[in-house]
């Protein structure tokens, strides 16, 4: 890509990433949540990869970080849901943490934790699909 694209991508990516984190963390207060924020996080990574290409980012042949974090995130979501069986009302997906005061950042019990985990899951899954399309394509050309 040209110098303008690279410079603009450099300047913007941090803000995009920060905006994704904001959407995820404030998911129980403002519109948005884990899905939207996770997709924005993946967008930040994809912007970097599209602007700079493979070599400056040191993308390896086996880029396993994204798929591992995706699997770990969905495993933790399941574990948190199963934990509802043992605490409180014995229901799957039981919201067992104290709800706190409505409208504060730390409130709503386990919902912010679910938001963060789902955000990681979505970001890692979209990034995994994109990386697979890039890396396996270069495997064809060799």
């Amino acid at each position: 890509m040209s110098l303008i694209v690279k410079k603009v991508a450099q300047l913007i990516t941090g803000f995009v990433f920060l905006y994704g984190i904001y959407i995820i963390v404030h998911g129980h207060l403002t519109p948005g949540g884990g899905f939207a924020g996770g997709a924005i996080l993946a967008g930040a990574y994809i912007l970097q990869i599209l602007a700079f290409g493979r070599d400056p980012l040191h993308l390896k042949k086996k880029e396993t970080g994204s798929s591992v974090s995706e699997s770990v995130a969905i495993f933790l979501v399941l574990m948190m849901a199963v934990a509802g069986f043992f605490i409180g009302a014995k229901v799957f997906f039981n919201n067992y943490l104290p709800t706190g005061k409505i409208g504060e950042l730390v409130s709503a019990g386990a919902i912010p934790l679910y938001n963060v985990l789902i955000g990681i899951e979505v970001a890692a899954a979209l990034l995994t699909i994109f990386l697979a399309l890039i890396i396996y394509k270069e495997e064809i050309e060799e």
Binding site: E70, F92, N95, I111, V122, A125, A132
Partner: protein, 175 residues
């Protein structure tokens, strides 16, 4: 409001038809983007900002991926000859579509008017989500508390999609 929605829906239909008939696959992909981005404005007009955020981000990412795929492969559409088998298929599709439209109209006539619903579950959610879950955003409260199974299913679908892509696109087998 209904006029604006109708104009947007008209745009979406035109974009979809153009995407079907465009000679260049790149312009077909971009015309398919019209449908997604008009849907974003529809969601905003219908007061669903959560859906609008998700739709605009996912639409952008899928468009980028589709453009990358189209630029890598061919940009020309494959030509299809119309023979007897094709005519039978097309007429069957048209008949099936007419039957579907007939039953769809019958079903729509029994629904409530647009914007007035009498769903008991929905009114219970609207009233009590904030006090029961402590979440100020109603949509997130419903998604992660009352409808936790739905969210788990969606996350599982993404997980399965990523695994499927990794499995199908792999050229060399595991040793």
């Amino acid at each position: 409001m209904e006029l604006t929605l109708s104009i947007l829906l008209g745009f979406m239909i035109i974009g979809a038809i153009f995407a079907l008939h465009a000679k260049d696959l790149l312009s077909a992909v971009i015309a398919a983007g019209i449908v997604g981005y008009s849907l974003v404005i529809c969601f905003l007009l219908l007061k669903a900002p959560d859906l609008a955020i998700v739709q605009i981000v996912v639409e952008t990412i899928t468009l980028i991926i589709m453009v990358a795929v189209v630029l890598d492969s061919t940009r020309q559409e494959l030509s299809v000859k119309i023979d007897r088998q094709q005519i039978i298929n097309i007429s069957l599709a048209v008949i099936f579509m007419l039957v579907l439209v007939f039953f769809f109209i019958q079903a729509i006539n029994t629904l409530n008017p647009f914007g007035e619903h009498s769903l008991r579950m929905a009114s219970a959610y609207v009233g009590e989500t904030a006090s029961k879950t402590g979440s100020a955003n109603l949509v997130t409260g419903v998604l992660f508390d009352f409808r936790g199974y739905d969210t788990l299913g969606e996350a599982t679908i993404l997980f399965t999609a990523a695994i499927g892509v990794l499995t199908i696109l792999r050229i060399k087998g595991k040793k």
